[in-house]
């Protein structure tokens, strides 16, 4: 798997690199015998000989989510200066990791020991982006990171670091796409810290290809009075695994995790989240909804910890799935681990088919079967799309839904 790869040239901490190498030397790819990977097979990743090739894309038209944004483009993880914005708005500094000096990249909060994909990402880091949002800055224009996989059996080890300064407010859009990519693999990590009373929103669109793989891990920590929101929209990708680890270390925080996944063909999408409430007086809301067509398989595993003495926590978690065919399947596992006694927590999971009686009702009023199903799917997934505040992201999502599924939801 790794023979064709060269170790990273990004100036990361020596100890971290050693730790990553050590993990790679001592561990195999996870198997379905491991609880965290029970429903997601990654063995095929080990059978591919990856390379990290530099490619360019000719047109950005299909990938530009927001027209008015500060855009940074990476192809197979390599920074593309000519496709990226020259101007960086006030209040924020942005740099590709390859341009960072020694010591500029702070030590990681990713778990490297035993976490093979984090270790792979670190040891063979292709490139990435460092976004520092200054304290008290309100950044009106979103920062848009576009990542395109291109070519055969390419592996991109890509990293995003976001430091949202105290009292800052910003939005980051992440778009993951593929172009003529065969068996390509994006192995992505994000390290995100949300400062005191900061507001950070991430809109993440995953639209790679049916034979690409994508594994991403977001490691987020929240300080006092901060609000962190991430909307994950997964519409294409053969194997997709999203690990979302949120550590709420400050009081009076709000955490919003929303996700929509629409699968067809043989797609597999796995959303794993952990929200760890370590301190009192915080709210977290998680809403994930999926529509699974053809032979698609989805996994939802959402875990909420409420640590001892983390009182007055409100944690809500909900996962809903609609299976469009008999071959579609989902494994949904919401989990709560509560060690405090004055909390409000709930979780729920539903999986079903579209209500055929409702489809008949709509048809009996003159709607075609296709329109009837579309309308009902749109109503179902609309709860999640309603959470997206950035209109450009929402419009782009609607465009993808139309392109890929022929669903015109607007």
């Amino acid at each position: 798997m790794l023979e064709g790869l060269t170790p990273t040239t990004i100036l990361l901490d020596e100890k971290e690199l050693n730790s990553a190498q050590d993990t790679l030397a001592k561990n195999q790819l996870p198997t379905t015998r491991m609880e965290a990977w029970k429903y997601t097979r990654v063995a095929k990743l080990g059978k591919t000989n990856y390379t990290s090739s530099e490619e360019t894309v000719v047109s950005m038209d299909a990938y530009r989510i927001a027209a008015d944004a500060t855009t940074f483009v990476f192809v197979n993880g390599h920074f593309s200066e000519e496709l990226s914005s020259d101007e960086i708005p006030a209040g924020v500094s942005i740099s590709p990791l390859s341009a960072c000096m020694e010591g500029e990249i702070a030590s990681t909060n990713l778990v490297l020991e035993g976490e093979i994909f984090n270790a792979l990402n670190t040891a063979f880091l292709t490139d990435g982006i460092l976004i520092d949002i200054e304290a008290k800055a309100t950044v009106e224009k979103p920062v848009q990171i576009i990542h395109v996989l291109k070519g055969e059996a390419t592996l991109s080890n890509f990293k995003t670091i976001i430091n949202a300064g105290d009292f800052s407010k910003a939005g980051v859009i992440q778009g993951f796409f593929a172009e003529d990519a065969d068996k390509a693999f994006a192995n992505v990590t994000s390290e995100i810290s949300v400062g005191t009373n900061a507001f950070l929103t991430i809109d993440k669109i995953q639209y790679e290809a049916e034979n690409t793989s994508h594994i991403s891990t977001e490691q987020v920590s929240q300080e006092n009075d901060s609000t962190f929101t991430i909307n994950t929209i997964t519409l294409n990708g053969g194997l997709v695994r999203n690990n979302l680890n949120i550590e709420v270390i400050g009081e009076n925080c709000e955490t919003n995790l929303n996700g929509a996944y629409l699968l067809k063909g043989k797609q597999h999408v796995d959303n794993h989240s952990v929200v760890d409430h370590k301190v009192p007086n915080c709210n977290s809301n998680e809403l994930y909804k999926g529509v699974i067509d053809d032979k698609g398989t989805a996994v939802f595993n959402g875990k909420v910890f409420v640590r001892p003495d983390a009182q007055k926590i409100n944690a809500f978690q909900s996962n809903g799935n609609v299976l469009m065919t008999d071959d579609a399947s989902v494994n949904s596992k919401p989990e709560l681990e509560i060690y405090a006694d004055d909390v409000k927590c709930s979780h729920g999971s539903t999986t079903g088919q579209l209500d055929e009686e409702a489809v008949f009702y709509l048809r009996a009023r003159g709607l075609s079967e296709k329109s009837a199903r579309k309308l009902m799917v749109s109503a179902f997934i609309g709860d999640v799309l309603d959470k997206i505040e950035n209109e450009d992201v929402l419009n782009f999502t609607h465009g993808l839904l139309k392109d890929r599924f022929g669903w015109d939801f607007e």
Binding site: D355, E357, A358, F360, Y361, L362, R363, A364, R365, G366, L367, S368, E369, S371, L375, M376, S378, A379, F380, G382, D383
Partner: protein
């Protein structure tokens, strides 16, 4: 308008309709009454195209087209409307959004231009007033959280919006109090015209005080066993269905 000949239909191998004949002309209101299990709702379902039923024999001509050969949506587009006995709740699907889609798909089917947003909203206002349906309900999710009476009024509201040629009201009166019944009946009567017709399926004669039928038919054991003028309904109310059963065995 509609000519049903020797209609046989079964579900899960059990025959429910056993040779039903019925002809309804434009401008007429026909009431179909009958005891539980006679096949009243089956008739409504079969005409609307519910796929659970198998048609084993017979024909249905709807204004020159073979109704049984059409999909549910095409029957609706040709002007057939079924007011459901149990209107379905559809969370998240807005009543008026779906109606607008329905109207425009029907128009497209007929080769007509789409209805403008302005015209549509004006029609919504007019027709919701007809059945005294709160315009707020009109824009809410289909039937979600509606009371029984509101659901039935919503059916008649949709009927008014779609202006069907033939309306089949399947036990629209059941569960309604007298005020709701009056409103529903008033809606139906207002929509009545020379070029449309209704089949009113009911268990109770009460509805027929408000929607006066031209003909009353008794459906029993999968067939129409007796037809007569509106007075037949009163006779049924008074004497029940037993005398019909007795007549049949004679």
């Amino acid at each position: 308008m509609i000519t049903i000949k020797n209609l046989h239909a079964s579900i899960n191998g059990k025959e429910i309709l056993k040779g039903l004949d019925l002809t309804v002309n434009a401008g007429e209101v026909h009431a179909i009454m009958g005891p539980n299990g006679a096949g009243k709702s089956t008739l409504a379902s079969v005409l609307a195209g519910r796929e659970d039923y198998e048609i084993t024999e017979g024909s249905v001509d709807f204004d020159g087209t073979d109704l049984l050969d059409m999909d549910t949506e095409d029957r609706a587009r040709e002007g057939l409307f079924l007011a459901f006995q149990y209107p379905v709740e559809i969370p998240g699907v807005s009543n008026i959004n779906f109606l607008r889609t329905a109207i425009n798909e029907i128009r497209e089917y007929k080769g007509e231009e789409a209805m403008s947003a302005k015209e549509f909203m004006a029609t919504v206002r007019e027709k919701s007033a007809l059945v005294e349906l709160d315009p707020k309900l009109a824009s809410r999710s289909v039937n979600e959280g509606f009371s029984g009476g509101e659901k039935k009024r919503n059916e008649i509201f949709q009927m008014a919006m779609l202006e069907p040629k033939l309306s089949i009201l399947d036990e629209t009166d059941s569960g309604l109090d007298i005020d709701a019944l009056r409103i529903v009946a008033n809606g139906v009567n207002t929509l009545k015209g020379d070029d449309n017709a209704s089949i009113v399926i009911t268990h109770y004669q009460r509805l027929l005080d408000y929607i006066v039928p031209d003909f009353v038919h008794v459906l029993y054991d999968g067939k129409i066993v007796k037809s007569g003028p509106k007075e037949l309904a009163l006779e049924l109310e008074e004497k029940g269905y037993d005398w019909i059963k007795e007549e049949m065995t004679l």
